[in-house]
Subunit: 267 residues, 2 copies
């Protein structure tokens, strides 16, 4: 049950290329995933995979070929393409010959209360690489997912998907506006700890609750008054030197690994 | 003492555009810096500034204009350009109208022994954004500089310069090959602590020396046998979840901030 496509101007191939564009991703509710490991993670974590596209000339890895041959018999989205076709949509240098189109999976704030634990809320995060890196760290630190507030970049942007190294599949993703988040916070009382550059408690001296949301500001502005009011507490990362702030994904990761360390220590 | 340039095809403007290319940067021994804050840091830290390029139409910030008017009388590299010219080499969306060409400043391994403290050694780091982010964290954690081994990306790549938020000026930069590094390490005994995914001491349980080099592997491969042999000790970052590693700049930062925390605690 597979299609073969040999022309880069085939309409389906054109659609795949269009997924570089956020609007096209939003309209189709899908996104593009490339590489053996990433496609493997999409399958392993049970994502709704629309297409698996593979190129026999390029796909040398045994594991990659196994992924293709292990697809269930009824799967109708298998597409075999030539190297020329694969190159026409590939975003990698030295493509491995395996890609997928996967359905976006958005959760909602009620999932936070249903799946209590560690979450991150990001206000208007701009850089997709930073967002993907935060998802990767969140997964590694045992977190549940990210809440995207304001004018956030897209976690399904190819750079975010790549930087997440699969965490885009394992972490839940929620997007909402600040107002809805405030209402939900008032209604549930779910703890929110904000990070702040200023005279607040150092992040190492804080005793983090079991379930909580770590709130981070945008790369440019940090958290604003309106966000700070919403936080139960604020922590800061003491630092030195002439640079007065950290990359947002680094700052989030340092706090997440302090929380993880405290959890591990308390068993 | 300033030149005015109104044509994007002026030879000097062409030279500035060429600095996007690593080979051109190496040949000229200079690099391109853009933005008020970055140019301000270059001046504040006493870099050898070859050109300051400003565009009166775009430069609205008082601080930015002050930087230009505070330049010493004898400075011969001031260039005033039109918005069209500035746009022709700018790498920013919404350029601020201030840029500079700065001389590269490389240190050598003897600077490590002369300026003891915390350094990072990076084996074949590939992504300039990761390298810049590590320099930023290194600065924030009170480090001295980075030693680039193997086929490393260029710290003077525009993405590295941008991600460093000025730390490219405050941190010392050394590039050398593994063999020279090994010889220097044998001769000096300077402590080298490697980071490793495996059954070694958790990074929080390690008592870091006052002066040391944190050694990190490349994004793809981590540290290899040949590097591990060179390390006095290895530490690991325990983690959870389906992702089995962290972004290299995140991992470096987590370790650097543990070292910084230990130093602060011991006064």
């Amino acid at each position: 049950m597979k299609r073969q496509i040999t022309s880069p101007s085939n309409p389906l191939i054109k659609e795949i290329r269009k997924l570089r564009n956020r609007k096209e991703r939003e309209n189709s509710g899908t996104f593009y995933v490339e590489g053996i490991r990433a496609v493997g993670e999409a399958l392993r974590t049970g994502q709704q995979v629309v297409y698996i596209i593979y190129c026999p000339e390029l796909l040398e890895s045994d594991f990659g070929n196994q992924l293709v041959s292990d697809l269930p018999d009824g799967f109708e989205g298998l597409i075999e393409v030539t190297a020329e076709v694969f190159d026409s949509f590939s975003l990698k240098e030295g493509p491995q010959g395996l890609a997928a189109v996967v359905r976006q999976a958005w959760a909602s704030l009620s999932d936070v209360t249903a799946d209590r634990g560690i979450w991150v809320a990001l206000e208007s995060i701009q850089d997709p690489g930073n967002l993907g890196t935060i998802l990767r760290s969140l997964d590694a630190a045992g977190g549940n997912g990210a809440i995207l507030l304001g004018q956030s970049t897209d976690p399904y942007h190819p750079s975010a998907v790549r930087a997440s190294t699969g965490a885009v599949f394992s972490q839940k993703l929620i997007r909402t506006d600040l107002h809805s988040f405030q209402e939900w916070k008032s209604a549930t009382g779910y703890p929110v700890i904000g990070t702040f550059c200023g005279d607040v408690k150092p992040y190492r001296d804080y005793n983090y609750p079991q379930d909580m949301i770590v709130m981070m500001g945008s790369e440019q502005k940090g958290l604003q008054e309106i966000h700070l009011k919403l936080c139960d507490d604020l922590v800061t990362i003491p630092m030195n030197g002439s640079v007065d702030s950290l990359n947002v994904s680094v700052a989030a990761s340092i706090i997440l690994f302090e929380i993880y360390h405290q959890k591990e220590k308390s068993g």
